[in-house]
Symmetry: C2
Subunit: 433 residues, 2 copies
């Protein structure tokens, strides 16, 4: 089965938005064992769209078309397909009724242009949109089934999962059984990981892939066929042994989610004091429902005054050691923990840049403290030559990793702070109390 994708929309083609739908789709299909063969991106021009549909339908079996289903004049996908098919657009009466009912229910006037979305080519089969007002549809053109989906990510993803994948599964031969296992790593570059894994013997039918996405590199182990699937668990263990502390979680997209689940399961509470990460750390946990049960408070004390007023730091500590220091980070964590008598507290203070660095403490210097009922661990990391966003993102990940290791190791001292190959360790200081 040859699968292609056509992305429409001037804003995708012109680079106004980065096409994350396409990456998500290719990745999702890969997890189903189906490889995307080609992706074509065209703008909002009727002839261009129709010609692309005709041309690609002579090569592919299935074409997922994304975008151009909305209510505005630059939404041309249905019209272009009708042109390619040599058909009229026909109103889908069921969807019209659905929209009228929907707007009645939420007590709002149905905008006139909404009804344009009910027009689909005569031979097309409507596909329900559970998340929005524009229906999808599919139609056969030359060799290929063209499957039209909305551009809004939440609607697109729901339609792919609920409608497109089942359609593929029932219409085409079942693909070979596949299994994907993902190891999330932190603190090491792709080439460092590859250097370690390149010397391993990989069983037939298993492939290794790397997906760098700051602050993580995900190592993907993909098994194709029953024999390979059987060998996968043992191979996973070998890879984990080889990578050691680099692996921070498995089949989980972020360390924040891993920590969230860990704190929930272990019933441990947390307080946070942030300076340079400025709410990012707290926000990453509150993103998950249920975080209220363990997160007492997250205090962003960006100014020195706030560090004193809110966290009760001594002016002398800040003056003597500086706002970015092991001593300040330690005091921030200790004081915020005490405010809520939490099991754990994290604190960050650093120079995120682009300005504010000195020779002694260059941009990218961040002190991260973890305090538990048993002790305090602080480290200074040097995230040099990185953007403000990356310095902040990495600092959050390192803080969460310290917390994760501490909870898992029941505060055993040596387990909390581990070396990261891509953070210059020569400049890192580690202090334990």
């Amino acid at each position: 089965m040859k699968l292609e994708m056509i992305c429409t929309g001037e804003e995708v083609l012109s680079g106004q938005i980065v096409d994350t739908n396409a990456a998500w789709f290719a990745n999702t299909m890969m997890n189903q064992g189906i490889e995307l063969q080609r992706k074509t991106t065209v703008g909002d021009r009727l002839d261009d769209l129709a010609n692309t549909f005709i041309e690609r339908s002579q090569h592919a079996d299935v074409i997922l078309v994304n975008g151009g289903l909305g209510p505005t004049t630059d939404d041309l996908s249905a019209e272009a397909l009708a042109l390619a098919l040599g058909e009229e657009l026909v109103e889908d009466k069921d969807w019209r009724l659905y929209l009228i009912e929907l707007f009645k229910k939420i007590d709002r006037k149905l905008p006139a242009n909404m009804l344009k979305q009910c027009l689909i080519p005569a031979s097309a089969i409507r596909i329900d949109n559970a998340e929005g007002t524009a229906p999808g549809f599919r139609a056969k053109l030359n060799n290929a089934w063209l499957f039209f989906t909305p551009g809004v990510p939440i609607e697109f993803k729901a339609m792919v999962k609920q409608q497109f994948i089942p359609f593929i599964e029932t219409t085409y031969q079942p693909a070979q059984a596949t299994l994907l296992h993902k190891l999330l790593t932190l603190g090491h570059g792709e080439s460092f990981l590859a250097d370690k894994l390149d010397v391993m013997e990989i069983p037939a039918g298993i492939t290794l892939g790397y997906r760098p996405s700051a602050p993580h590199v995900e190592v993907k182990l993909f098994a194709r066929g029953d024999a390979a699937i059987k060998q996968l668990p043992a191979f996973i263990e070998k890879v984990k042994d080889t990578l050691g502390t680099a692996v921070v979680t498995e089949n989980c997209p972020s360390i924040a989610q891993a920590v969230h689940e860990l704190l929930l399961n272990k019933k441990r509470s947390l307080s946070i004091a942030e300076s340079c990460t400025g709410g990012m750390l707290t926000n990453q946990l509150i993103e998950f429902a249920g975080s209220s049960s363990y997160l007492h408070q997250g205090l962003v004390t960006y100014s020195n005054q706030a560090k004193q007023n809110i966290l009760g730091l001594n002016a002398e500590t800040i003056e003597q050691y500086g706002a970015v220091s092991i001593e300040t980070a330690k005091a921030m964590a200790e004081n915020v923990r005490a405010l809520g008598d939490s099991d754990y507290a994290l604190a960050t203070t650093g120079i995120a840049g682009p300005d504010g660095g000195s020779e002694e403490k260059p941009v990218g210097t961040v002190c991260i403290a973890l305090v538990s009922r048993r002790g305090c661990w602080v480290q200074t990391v040097q995230l040099k030559n990185r953007s403000r966003t990356i310095v902040r993102t990495m600092s959050c990940a390192i803080a969460l990793d310290m917390l994760r290791r501490s909870v898992l190791a029941e505060d055993e001292v040596q387990a909390v702070i581990v070396p990261y190959s891509f953070i210059p360790c020569s400049d890192s200081k580690i202090v334990m109390y």
Copy 2:
């Protein structure tokens, strides 16, 4: 001049990486007045690549090819072009010497596979790579000039700026002048905006586009040609008049950035107390360098206990009115403002979901308070049927919009809270003091 792009590489096609080069390129060319007509993405298969080169070279005048120039076995662009041209690969002796010299200079051994990069098709013209070891090249195939560039972003961008754009400018007619103006809107759907603008008379040469990206919809006004550019400023004013309060900023990607710049320019200080938005609001401002000069503190008081301990709220206020109430939001804002004697304070408290709602206060109920030295404004919004992330994202945007309007209007009462068409206003309460 018809410009197309071909992106190569399994990791781009399979969604392992999001193709930011393509978005950057399209955007860069758009700023030069040249629209990208089509983008094709193909994997690392020799025949596929050669066939795509042949096919697209019959339609386009210029094709920018990105990726596949590196030293590893899956880098096939030069070989595929040679196949398409029916030519041999020939070693570029100058580049070989350049590489040997380069590695001598940095005192490192030249890896054997590096020299593969010197092989380009016989009729191709080498293009220097100032940032890396793989040279680009260009060759004529059918109607089109194919221009090959490396996939590494820094190398790619330098080559486009230093070599591709000058090549285009000298080879083709100067492009028609263009001008793009963007209006960022908040609180209204694409179809609501389109309904208002569809009745306007649009001057020839100007096109309207919409880009929805929660919590905003961006309205793009694109003028092509000198006559249209001349008419654009007057048309922008008309569109702004028509959209009224929906427009929150211009040529600026987010309301957070607009507020950041406003607070810096007006030298106003801010404190934040967050419950349901949980650090997101504070984080959105700290994302920008310089925010330390106006942001006193951002306190995430997620639990009722924290609201009392940290913000000094009365237990009675919370008990009598609830944690999600106008009274609690008001007290949070007033108390956090007092902690730092800031000019302004924002507070949010709500039910982000998916659980925790009641009949009286369903999921999506959020109370947002703004306090200044002159007064307090609070509103309850009902962000029904939306995900946790969207509830939190929209709450932040609405809070920032209240602040923005208050600073601009010098606290004039009526200007701070405006209706949003896609938030059910029937349930919104507005209180002013």
